[in-house]
Amino acid sequence: MTGWPPPPLLARYLLTLALPPDDRDHVLDDLEDVYRNRCDDLGHRAARHWYWRETISFAGRFAFERLIELVRGVGPVIEPDPRERRPHMEGAVDRWTGEFRHAARRLLRAPGFTLICAATLALAIGANTAIFTVVDAVLINPLSYPAAERLVMIRGIAPGSELRGEFDPGPEFFVAYRDEANLLEDIGMFRLMQSTARADDKVDRLYMVAASASLFSTLGARPLVGRLPTREDDMQRTPVMVISHWLWTTWFGADPGIVGRSFEAAGQRRTVIGVMRPEFRFPDARRAIWIRASIADERRIAPGSLGFFLVGRTKPGVKHSVLAAQLDAIAKGLPERFGGDASYARLIAHHRPVVRSLEEQLVGRISQPLWIILSTVGIVFLIACANVANLFIARAESRRRDLAVRHALGAGRLGLIRSQAAEALLLATAGAAGGVSIAAAMVPLLVRAAPEGVPNLDLVAVNPLALAFTAALALLAACLFGLVPAIRFSRPGALADLRQAGGVGGARGHVTRNVLVVAQTAAALVLLVAAGLLARSLWELSRVDLGYDTKDVFTFQVAPSRKELNDGPSFALFHQGLLERLGGIPGVESVGLVNELPLDEAFGRGRFGTERTEAGAAAPPILPYTHVAGDYFQTLRVALVSGRLFESTDHQVGMANAIVSRSAAQHLWPSEDPLGKRLRFGTDPAADPWLTIVGVVEDIRATGFRQDAPDPLIYLPLVGPAPRTWVVGSPAYVVRSPRAASMAADVRALLREYAPEAPMYRIFTMEALSRRALAQVSFTLIMLGIASGLALILGAVGLYGVLSYIIAQRTREIAVRMALGAEATAVRRMVVVQGGRVALIGVALGVLAALATTRVLESLLFGVTALDVSTFLAMSGLMLAVAVMASYLPAHRASAVDPIQALRTD
């Protein structure tokens, strides 16, 4: 009952605002009671989520209820006899329905006005609802583990050592943290992998996790069927695995007898002991198999092999900084417990643990763009409301006589407000209905355009919560654009003005409308600048030289499996044969293969010894490496700097050659000619023979466009110096052809003949991979682009509306001027200057607002600063140009006034 944090403060505050005073305290107390019970039963996270949902439900319903009470005049007074009240209430209901009927009729009589208002609102509400559904699924409830706020990811940094940036620790950290960190309740270790799985006639490359049994207890996961790995499994090193709900249903038809069956996964026959629940998606939704993996002998860990992910569960109330301090102290004792060489001791001396919430680690990357997009569409919503408010004011002014007559006939102020509110509510309802359909259409597009790796995307749907959000937006919109003008125009003073002949009384209307246009212009400019900055970034990113050419390259992988494929040379023979046949497909210019494809898979990392390191001059460095064959370099157009590329003889046993990238050469043999130098893949002179450098190639940016500096990279041939040194099982093939986009069928046909048992998978064009690498920026840019385009149009329409109205009001004055000899150009200039002045104030304010806000984009930007002067200038210019264009139409109309006609009609 105790010990749980209180309900979310913001939600409580919202409830305080929404609830009527006489119900406030006890409803809040009741909700808190239930909240605490839920904390005990379902965990704090779920309870918090529940509290938010209730807040939305209560706020929406009570806001509506209070509106009804306000209109009916029912106060929070307790009436002893219900019969006394009823006639009054019936009257209120009748009045209200009558009001809605009239409002509907009035709106239908002005179809243009109605359509523009409803469409504007539908666009704004639709965009907001669509983005909200994504934010709700991805950010508000990303982790479905009990007490997920106590889950942390433990990484490390070692500033001053040879390791740059953050890294994931090694098994010795896991063992030490597990044994010694008493602030941790539990800790699990895992690695991510992609490997082939075969069961019956099914074979595919699947995303897998190799995890310690404690990973599951740390997360608090429960299986749907069977059991989870235990400490005993770890100790006995049993080859067991649990499979995902998706794999269970698609591969095994949800067979309830799955437990105990075994099939091949990650190179070994393993037994299924459990099936995870559909909502278990750790660390992402693609994972299909979690194989049990543990440390062979904890007493004999070779320290320093990093790259294992650690997830911990803190004890309740432990702060991250406190945990980090304890882990730091533990890590400092690692060399004493596990040994290690001098470079390891140096690493530990500089090492500091990094503790971060699991949620931040998993959704941190995508959360920022999503919040940016949500605030962007929020701004569009406000602009849309300002626009509709403008139209409403104009309409109210044109209805002055109507209102004045109604007032004179005895309509009370409340009645006048009610008639405006009825129109506003009807329009908002139409807007909401349109908005929901727009959102329903937009959500699938959003999901498809979203960058890879966004958690829970498959759960995104327009659900009741989203509908409640839409309804709340519509209500808010109606209040913003309907009530304000309604209250203003129903003021007794305003109505007195209205009795005068049309024309003079609207001065206050001008001010309000000008203020609205200034605000719209400013908001639109903020969005334009943001979109401009992102467009610049995307442009700069697309100009980054990756070091290879992604155009016209088709790529796929195969995972052959035959008895005779059992060592390096036999696999090499298989691949050489396939390379040759692929080269025979019409239109193919060159074919190569690589073990890890740039932009798709990360390179392996290994320790490499050189003569220098063995002489003790330096520690053997950890460098990325991969295996290549065929015309890999020619196909991706990686330039040769010196020496030669691999030849087919390099792929035979005993030809122990290697190629290095320019920066690897620089790193290993600074200011020396690397050709002919030797390096060792490993550090054991007895087991790892020397490899001779035969060529140097240009650096490449393998992980993507944002990579600061290219990785130093070692290229190894298909076959090691001995048959068993390494086996390249399922590399990626790269095929250069003008028909790259449509080659899959040809390759599939060839494979059916050459290797019918081998699955073909990860089929892409390199161009698609490069688009994927840019997805995060391009996704945000598309959203911001659409939003700022909408904002620009709405802003222009708003300005146009205001000027048109002013011209209409001043027709008489303009006519007199022209009758007295004013030039048409002078009249035009006068109007454009008037519009320009309003727009200029808006642009000035918009620039200030943009200066203050574009900083939030910083992490998405590339090659351009958040305060880029040229973008600011260009977008301000664009905004002004659009404003002048929007003013020109009314200006033209003003100059075309026929003085005689205008003066006669009045």
């Binding site: 305290d25 006890h26 209560f58 009570f62 209820e65 219900p82």
Partner: protein, 115 residues
């Protein structure tokens, strides 16, 4: 009929209050148990907010009466807003039931009999 009949939801709320008040282990009758009682008996999810709004309306109509109960320890000394059905409330419930019974009398609406 001159007076406004009770809605189905209002009837559910009133009946839940009466059930809770007359239960042998009756504790305080307030919002939380009312929601639980309706959900348990009707086996459907009800909106908590709807229940509180119904209570508010029923109170305005004089069909239920509320008062602040004794302070409880679990709430840190705060008290609950307790509720009971008034005489008029019971009267209205009876009338609603009677009206329904009248409508049902002699009917056996099996699907095949209704076109």
């Amino acid at each position: 009929m001159s007076r406004e009949a009770l809605g189905e939801f209002e009837q559910l709320v009133l009946l839940a209050i009466i059930r809770l008040t007359t239960a042998t282990d009756a504790g305080d009758v307030y919002g939380v148990p009312i929601v639980e009682e309706i959900e348990a008996r009707t086996r459907r999810k009800v909106s908590r907010a709807a229940v509180y709004i119904a209570l508010r309306r029923l109170e305005h109509k004089g069909l239920v009466a509320t008062w602040m109960g004794a302070p409880t320890q679990e709430r840190g000394g705060k008290s609950r807003r307790c509720v009971k059905v008034t005489r008029t409330g019971i009267q209205m419930l009876r009338e609603s039931r009677q009206a329904l019974n009248e409508m049902w009398r002699g009917l056996d609406p099996r699907p095949e009999k209704i076109r």
